[in-house]
Amino acid sequence: MKTKDSAFREIFEANSKRIYRLCYSYTADSAAANDLMQETFLKVWQNLDKFRNQSMISTWIYRIAVNTCLTYLRSEKRQAKDELTPFIAENEPEEVSGKKEEVDLLYQCIAKLEESERIIITMVLDEVPYPEIAEISGISEGNLRVKIHRIKSKLTELYNHYEEL
């Protein structure tokens, strides 16, 4: 039988990167994303005994992470910056590769989406299966497909718009 500590370590290894990306897409700030990721896993650890396999563990962790991010945004009144280009220009050193800038721009564009859109698109990008996304976001699978299609277009449009600037 696995101990709580070893179970937690496994869960952390398997999910921390995805959760960090999710938190980063909400905050566009790596320090805040790290804090939120830590808070998410602290709650996972505290509630691990209560997890009864009603859903997949990754679904459960995603839910906790989304709640953590939303509570953070509400309590801190932190919103994504309105002007994307100056943010990137001021914060990135010149030698940083083009790929890194592209990824940063992608995160900035995700941060411009609505809260519910952000969580859905992050899961789509992380290749989470549709039934699982539907469960986490509380939307029927049929509606979800339509919504995902719309978010994909919106994100692509946003990205191309800011890339041209």
Binding site: N34, E39, L42, W45, Q46, T156
Partner: protein, 197 residues
């Protein structure tokens, strides 16, 4: 112009940032709350050491004036009462593990914050006054044999130090302590808000 598939592969290929390990994460959470306890414990131990020193003075040194003994007793009594009250606060937060019983810990932390506010308010002034009286009485006999100028300077230094601690250092320490408690409380409250399971 990029299409969504290109954005998706950009997302998949993004460089991974270095992340902390599970063990470090748990250690960090515990560290924030343990530093509060440790500071309080250090203060209690320092008070205990002073108390023992006063007992040694009382038992092994012979003083001529009753005022000196009165000073020793007032100082000892003040330190003892204050240390007991601090220990009560220490027990309040030391008896629970914040990473296991977050709700109980949060409640205890709020009680602790109230207790510290009370201690750092009027109680600290009473403590400073009693301590000043006690040490002042003790100094009368000790400084009797030294030249007048030294005696005056010693009293001035003593009064200056007590005033500095009571009116300046105290405010600074209280502010830092309250900020730290406030941070831990808001972090735990944010966690508590999410307890829906």
């Amino acid at each position: 112009m990029k299409n969504f598939e290109e954005l998706s592969s950009m997302w998949t290929a993004q460089p991974q940032k270095e992340q902390i390990t599970a063990d470090t994460l748990l250690k960090q959470v515990k560290k924030g709350t343990q530093s509060l306890q440790q500071k309080l414990l250090v203060s209690i131990l320092m008070m205990a050491a002073t108390f023992i020193f006063m007992i040694v003075l009382f038992l092994f040194f012979l003083f001529n004036s009753w005022l000196t003994y009165a000073g020793i007793f007032i100082t000892m009594g003040t330190i003892l009462i204050y240390a007991i009250l601090m220990y009560r606060d220490y027990r309040l937060i030391a008896s629970h593990d914040p990473t296991v019983e977050v709700n109980i810990y949060l409640q205890k932390l709020k009680e602790y914050q109230k207790g510290r506010n009370r201690m750092n308010g009027k109680m600290l002034y009473v403590y400073s006054v009693l301590l000043s009286i006690g040490l002042g009485l003790f100094l009368i006999e000790i400084l009797r044999s030294v030249p007048l100028l030294v005696e005056i300077l010693a009293y001035l230094a003593f009064i200056g130090w007590m005033a500095f601690v009571t009116f300046y250092l105290r405010k600074k320490i209280i502010k830092t302590e309250q900020e730290k408690i406030g941070q831990v409380i808001s972090r735990l409250e944010r966690l508590k808000l999410q307890f829906k399971d």
